[in-house]
Structures are given as structure tokens and as C-alpha cells.
């Protein structure tokens, strides 16, 4: 899911605590923002910290003056072979910057039908990824390197490597002569675990227990004020993990007790517009609903939402129904296209080498 989706979902979760809403409206507290901050925190930890501290055994650093697709594919294939022998291996692919606003693009795909690593050198692109057509190299531009084992990955998509930093892949041996391909192995691991949420909440809980005094009218609330902070932090980070679990990549829920990411539910892709907006809209409706029902002195101030049923029908049920209609329609159309191409229903087929737009996979945090 997009960072904004996680952020606003975190605020929505915080707004379910009446005491937090009262603190915001009566004491000018920014406590509701805490939910948003910890909602986006797992991705912040990954893309601002974890990525820099992950090291790879293999690195692909193509020479723009001597472009050779075969060379790139060979290094990736070596990494797969090593994983098949030793259990695990990682490879980092680098981009090629030619000028302040000029990059050489290439793509990497894994053809599971033929057990081949496929590399295609693409055109020059600018930082906005606009291609300069006709700049594709004429020689050594495509290569297919066969590996001795079979491989599979959760979502078969070609990676476009063009701007900023390139992606990293981990190969993990799964059974006899079979390797799993894991995209961005440093992403959604420890930072996206319930364990980290729990530990952070415990630490914050200890600090807030020692430092936060009870607020006014404690008899109105079922939990003490100090407990609000760890609870908002824990639920804010958990809503991020739950949202990410609806996609393909999944999370490592119980790191360090579990070694790898569990598979996502695969309902939607993280970059899809409608699912992202569905979560954002639901969060906005929840925030408004909670701010209104937990308003201070409800007997003195009339509600902003006179009828709950009417509000929920017009502002949530109806828009969600419309979004679901368009989402399912889009999904059906994609499924029909796949069936037309002879692929099995329900899961993506092998790499789509002719549709880079659709098949593109990103390592850009703003998209993931």
C-alpha cells in the first residue's frame, strides 16, 4: 500500500480512542498524529535505514560503455546456482547514470517455464522514466541464460531497472532443485513484524507510565492516559502490517522467530489505485465519525452527523460499493485477458515480456 494509505489508517485507528480525541480537541494535543507516524513507520525504517545495511554477495554493475545483456544475466544466474547449492544467495542490480537527467535502462525477468534469466537492455530514459525512443543498443541487447534448477516467485513480473538505486533479489532453495525468488529481501521483514510493534509499544509504555500523569476526568475513560501512547503506537503499526498482508509480498510477522516473509493474501497489488483509495476513504470516514461521536460535551453541542445510518450509507456503503464494482470489473477484464492468452486463472502467468507497462515492478518506495 502507499505510504499515505498507511499514514491515514494509523490516524483512523488512533481516533477510536475517545480519550485521544478529547485530548486533541480540549488540550491541543497532537496525539492522533502519533497513529499516522507509526502507521508509516515500518516503510520509513525499511527505505530510510534497512536498505543501506543489507549486503549482497553478487552485484551487477553494468558498464554503460560496454553494454552486454549476457553478462548481467550470467551474474544473476550464478547467484541462483549458488542458492541451489548452498541454500541462499542475494544479488544487487545497479542502475547506470549517464548524466544528471539521463539513465540507461534495462529489464530483468525470470522465465519459469524455461528456467531462464532474461535481460533486455532498453532505451535511455530521463529521471521521470520517459524513454528516448530509438536509443536502444543494437548489439548484445537481449540475453537468456539457463539455470540448472527450476524457480518460482510469488508474483511474476519483469523488473525495470532504470533510475536511482536498483532492486535486490534473494534466492532461497525450496525443496529439491527448486529456488524461490524473493524481491527486495530487506523489505517487510523485521520492520513489518508484530514483534517490533510489541517491543516498541512496551518501551513507550514504560516511559509513558513513568512520565505521563493522569488527565482530567479519568472516570470517563476505561484505560489510563499513559496506556494510550503504547496502544496507539502498537495498533498504528499493526494496521500497516494488516494492510500490507492484503497484497502479494506479505510480511515477516513474527521476526526473529520466523525466518522469511509469509505470503500475502494476494487480493490486490500495493500500487493499485482503487484498493489504496478504498482504505484511505474508509479511514477518512472513520476519523470523521469518531471525531463527531467523541466530541466534547455532546449534550451541549449538536452532532455534525445527525444520523449515523444515513452518514454511513451515503458516505461509506455507497462509495465502497462503487469502488468494489470498478475494482472487480477491472479484475475480471484482466482475468479474461489472461485466459485469452491461455494462462491458468487466478494467478499471473509467466513474465509478460511484451507489456513492460503492465509487467513493470518497482523498487521505488513511493510506489510500494
Amino acid at each position: 500500500m502507499k505510504g499515505f494509505t498507511h499514514f491515514i489508517s494509523g490516524i483512523a485507528v488512533a481516533s477510536f480512542f475517545p480519550q485521544a480525541v478529547h485530548m486533541a480537541s480540549q488540550e491541543q494535543s497532537f496525539i492522533l498524529c502519533l497513529g499516522g507516524i507509526f502507521g508509516i513507520m515500518p516503510d520509513t525504517l525499511d527505505f530510510k535505514f534497512a536498505r543501506y545495511f543489507h549486503t549482497s554477495e553478487f552485484e551487477v554493475k553494468p558498464d554503460p560503455k560496454n553494454l552486454d545483456a549476457h553478462q548481467i544475466a550470467s551474474v544473476v544466474a550464478q547467484s541462483i546456482e549458488k542458492a541451489n547449492k548452498e541454500g541462499r544467495s542475494t544479488v544487487q542490480l545497479h542502475t547506470m547514470q549517464l548524466g544528471s537527467n539521463l539513465w540507461q535502462s534495462y529489464t530483468l525477468g525470470f522465465d519459469s517455464k524455461t528456467s531462464e534469466v532474461v535481460v533486455e537492455i532498453g532505451p535511455l530514459v530521463d529521471t521521470g522514466q520517459t524513454p528516448f525512443l530509438g536509443t536502444e543498443p543494437k548489439e548484445k541487447a537481449t540475453a537468456r541464460v539457463k539455470v540448472s534448477c527450476s524457480f518460482f516467485q510469488e508474483f511474476d513480473k519483469k523488473s525495470n531497472i532504470a533510475i536511482m538505486s536498483g532492486p535486490c533479489f534473494e534466492f532461497i532453495k525450496r525443496g529439491e532443485n527448486q529456488v524461490e525468488i524473493v524481491f527486495l529481501p530487506w523489505h517487510r521483514t523485521w520492520s513489518h513484524s508484530a514483534t517490533l510493534g510489541l517491543v516498541t509499544a512496551l518501551l513507550v509504555g514504560i516511559i509513558s507510565y513513568l512520565t505521563v500523569a493522569e488527565g482530567p476526568n479519568p472516570e470517563l475513560y476505561s484505560i489510563p492516559r499513559w496506556m494510550l501512547y503504547p496502544l496507539i503506537i502498537f495498533f498504528g503499526s499493526m494496521v500497516h502490517i494488516i494492510e500490507d498482508s492484503t497484497g502479494f509480498m506479505g510480511n515477516n510477522l513474527f521476526y526473529p522467530f520466523t525466518a522469511d516473509r509469509t505470503k500475502g493474501l494476494g487480493f490486490m497489488s500495493a500500487a493499485e489505485a482503487i484498493p489504496n483509495f478504498l482504505f484511505v476513504w474508509t479511514s477518512v470516514v472513520a476519523i470523521l465519525f469518531n471525531l463527531d461521536r467523541f466530541r466534547w460535551a455532546p449534550e451541549s453541542f449538536p452532532p455534525g452527523i445527525p444520523s449515523t445510518e444515513s452518514f454511513l450509507f451515503w458516505f461509506w456503503v455507497l462509495p465502497v460499493a462503487v469502488m468494489l464494482y470498478f475494482f472487480l470489473r477491472g479484475k475480471n477484464e484482466k482475468e479474461q485477458r489472461r485466459q485469452g492468452e491461455g494462462r491458468p486463472a487466478g494467478r499471473p502467468g509467466a513474465v509478460d515480456f511484451d507489456g513492460p507497462g503492465e509487467a513493470e515492478r518497482e523498487s521505488d518506495p513511493s510506489i510500494i
Binding site: K2, G3, A24, G36, I40, G128, M164, L291, G304, S366
Partner: protein, 446 residues
């Protein structure tokens, strides 16, 4: 509505609205200037006319100006430089289109987004009567933390840049983080400037209401003009397309996303179209560059005009945006009829402005293709500085100089320009939360 608008009694409003649209054409042509600044100066000059100009006539004039400006400002922003943050958000992808000779197409796409946004605003106008009182009552005690959330998201959603190809982990870490640190420094330094300008203005008293003008010119306009003078060689030949590559689905998606961002920016004080557009773009997962350019057109138009429209909702007293504050002293009461007239005038000015968009763009293209672009930028820079000196004196010039230094930070280090909005976001959020006095005392400003 047409009967109401064409009633002889109201025809003077159509005349003033037309005049306002024409005036916006002139204002838009002045590079790097914002309508609120110009309208402020205009009111200083014409305030003497208030005896011969009724409140609704001023409203009609202002409606024509704001609608015309929100649609037409895309053209000089694309070719000469942005006047505020709302425009600078759009200008980077737009500059890319210009460099590919597709500036005209970019302007028309943005214009289509603007028209879509204003039609959506007109369609939503009756709904606002039903929704807005409730929304205002729910959110009124919470605006300060909503601003806090906007700031938190702005800062947290800037991701590291860099290619991370050094064998040293720490070198890669520093390469990525230096962009983030510049972004954070920009935000907090501009916030500090905001506190200073708001607490102690150096602008002459009669122009005190314009005290923020030199700040905005320094933060956004001058750095852009300097960049133009240093960087840009020649503008490639601009292709005047006969049609644009756009389908209805993309159009509706762009207008929808832009409308959300524009409405959020119009409703929440201090939040601009750039910030609103960023959040709506992320909320609706926009990726297509056509979608971005068009959606931006919707966003900025709904922001400029929507904030003015909110002012006319009877019984709501929602004053958002500089224009609403400017006309407030001349409007005593607002009725449903005034609201309907405003919506009618808005649609009239929309049509008129869109008709002017094509010829205006062609005129600008001819100018940049015939006159040396450096000369245009140098003239614009000198003109802007003279204007600031003329209206705000040496005090304003000093503020502008400091703001220019800060405005150049994101340009030089490729950080987000949006961080410059710290100049308003930080002091206003802190003041609304009730901590403003502590900060001002701490800074020794009182």
C-alpha cells in the same frame, strides 16, 4: 441560473466578471506574481472606488480574476516560472514536457483538468450546502492537529535519493540521507522565517497586508528565474497539437483525484494545492504523467476557486484563501441567491478563460521562440525585484533576499520544494496549538 445571471439587474455582474477574466490575463502574464498579491495591490489602488462599486460587483470582478488566473496561470508558469508553491508542484513535470516540445499539450491538458474541476465544483455546490455545516462543526476543534498531520506526512514521505553504488554502507547511507536532511533543514529554516515575518514585519505599515509577498517571491519565484537564467539554453520548437492523448476514464480519474486534493487544500487553512495534490496523488495512487498534469490542473483550480466558493455558503462563515479575506470587508450578508450567482459567474468565467487558453499559450510560445529566453528571464527577474522594492521598500527586499537563499536550497540539492511551505505551515500549526507565544518569546521577538 441563466435567468438569474442574464437578468438586466445582474448584467453588470457579467460585465465585471468579464473584466476580471481579462484582468487575470494580464496578471497571469506577469511572471512569478500571485493573484492575491496583485489583487491586494489593486485594491490598495482602487479602494477609493468602493463608493462606486457594490460588494457583489467586487465579487464578480474577483470571481473572473480568480477563475481566469487559476486556468491561465499555467501558461506563464510553464514557460517563465511559478509564482507560488501550488504552481511549483506542477512545474517540474511540466518543464519536462516543454523540453520535449510538448508544452502546448501540457497546458491544454492542465486546462482540461481545470475545466473538469470547476464543473465538478459547480455540481458539488448544492451538496456543499448539505455537507459543509456538519464538516465544519466536526473539524473546527481539530484543524491544528490536521495541519500537524500534514507536516508529519510531508516530512516522512520524502524518500532518500541516490544510486547507492559505493562499497561503503555509510557512504550510501549519507548519499541518501543528505537529501532528506536538506529537506528537513529547508522546512525548519523557512518555518523560523515564518515566525519572524509574522511577529515582526519589516514591510511599511500601509502594505503590511502584503508582508508575506516578498517571502513568497523569494522562496518560489526568484530561485526559479535564477535557475532559468543559469540552466536553460534554448526552448525547443513547441508542437501545437490538434488533439490530446486522453480517454474518459483517465479524465475522470484525474479530475476526481485533483478535486479531492484541491478541496482538501481549499478547506484546510494554509494547505496549498501542491500539498493537497501530493496527498491526493498518493491517496489515489496516480502514476501516469498525463494523469498527473491534468489532475494538477483540477487541483489548483479547485483550490483557488473552491476556497473562494466556501466563503459564499450562506450561514457558514468559512473564510479560506487570500481572496475571501480581501472581499470580506465589502460583503455584509450572503444569501442563497448570492451563492447561486457566484456559481453561475464561476461557470461563465470558466468558459471564457478556457477559450482564451489556446491563443494565450500560442502567444507565450511565440514570445519564447522569438525572444531570447535568457532575456525574458532577466527582464522578469528585474521586474519582480523592482515591484517588490516599489511596494515593500528595503525591508521587503531584505526579507526577499533571505527567502531567496532558502528557496535555492531545494533547487541546489534536489530536495522537495514543498518543504518551503514550512514558512506558513509551521508557525500556523504551532500558533493554532497554542504554543506560538512560547516560540516567539524564545526567539526574542517580543
Amino acid at each position: 441560473m441563466l435567468d438569474l445571471l442574464l437578468h438586466p439587474q445582474n448584467l453588470d455582474l457579467v460585465y465585471f466578471c468579464t473584466l476580471g477574466t481579462g484582468f487575470s490575463l494580464l496578471v497571469s502574464f506577469l511572471p512569478a506574481l500571485h493573484i492575491y498579491n496583485v489583487l491586494g495591490i489593486f485594491l490598495v489602488m482602487v479602494l477609493g472606488f468602493e463608493n462606486v462599486m457594490t460588494g457583489m460587483q467586487l465579487v464578480a470582478l474577483s470571481t473572473g480574476m480568480i477563475v481566469g488566473y487559476s486556468i491561465l496561470n499555467t501558461v506563464p508558469a510553464t514557460y517563465f516560472g511559478p509564482g507560488d508553491e501550488s504552481l511549483s508542484y506542477y512545474i517540474l513535470p511540466s518543464a519536462q514536457w516543454v523540453s520535449l516540445g510538448r508544452g502546448y499539450e501540457s497546458v491544454i491538458l492542465t486546462g482540461m483538468g481545470s475545466v473538469g474541476g470547476l464543473i465538478a465544483l459547480a455540481l458539488a455546490a448544492p451538496l456543499f450546502l448539505w455537507i459543509m455545516p456538519g464538516l465544519k462543526s466536526i473539524t473546527a476543534p481539530h484543524i491544528f492537529w490536521i495541519l500537524g498531520a500534514v507536516i508529519a506526512y510531508m516530512l516522512l514521505s520524502e524518500w532518500p535519493k541516490g544510486i547507492s553504488q559505493s562499497p561503503s554502507t555509510w557512504a550510501n547511507f549519507w548519499e541518501g540521507w543528505k537529501f532528506l536532511l536538506i529537506g528537513l533543514a529547508t522546512f525548519f529554516l523557512t518555518g523560523l522565517l515564518g515566525f519572524i515575518v509574522m511577529a515582526k514585519t519589516m514591510v511599511p505599515l500601509e502594505f503590511a497586508f502584503q508582508s508575506i509577498t516578498p517571502v513568497f517571491v523569494g522562496l518560489f519565484a526568484i530561485p526559479w528565474l535564477i535557475t532559468n537564467i543559469i540552466n536553460i539554453g534554448t526552448i525547443p520548437h513547441q508542437h501545437e497539437c490538434k488533439d490530446v492523448d486522453l480517454d474518459w476514464e483517465l479524465f475522470f480519474r484525474g479530475v476526481f483525484g485533483g478535486f479531492l486534493g484541491g478541496f482538501f487544500a481549499a478547506y484546510v487553512p494554509i494547505v496549498t494545492a501542491g500539498v493537497g495534490g501530493l496527498m491526493a496523488g498518493h491517496a489515489t495512487a496516480q502514476r501516469d504523467s498525463r494523469l498527473f498534469v491534468m489532475s494538477y490542473g483540477t487541483c489548483k483550480t479547485v483550490y483557488y476557486v473552491g476556497s473562494f466558493l466556501l466563503f459564499f455558503i450562506p450561514g457558514l462563515s468559512l473564510t479560506r484563501g487570500g481572496l475571501a479575506w480581501i472581499v470580506t470587508p465589502m460583503i455584509a450578508t450572503l444569501t442563497l441567491k448570492d451563492y447561486a450567482i457566484f456559481v453561475g459567474l464561476m461557470l461563465y468565467a470558466t468558459g471564457l478563460s478556457f477559450l482564451l487558453l489556446g491563443p494565450f499559450t500560442r502567444a507565450c510560445i511565440r514570445l519564447v521562440e522569438t525572444v531570447d529566453y535568457h532575456v525574458v528571464s532577466v527582464v522578469a527577474l528585474i521586474g519582480t525585484i523592482l515591484l517588490i522594492y516599489g511596494y515593500t521598500g528595503w525591508g521587503g527586499m531584505a526579507i526577499m533576499a533571505v527567502a531567496t537563499g532558502l528557496g535555492l536550497l531545494p533547487v541546489m540539492f534536489q530536495a522537495r520544494r514543498m518543504n518551503l511551505m514550512g514558512v506558513l505551515l509551521l508557525p500556523v500549526a504551532v500558533n493554532m496549538a497554542g504554543y506560538g507565544n512560547y516560540v516567539i518569546r524564545f526567539l526574542g521577538l517580543v
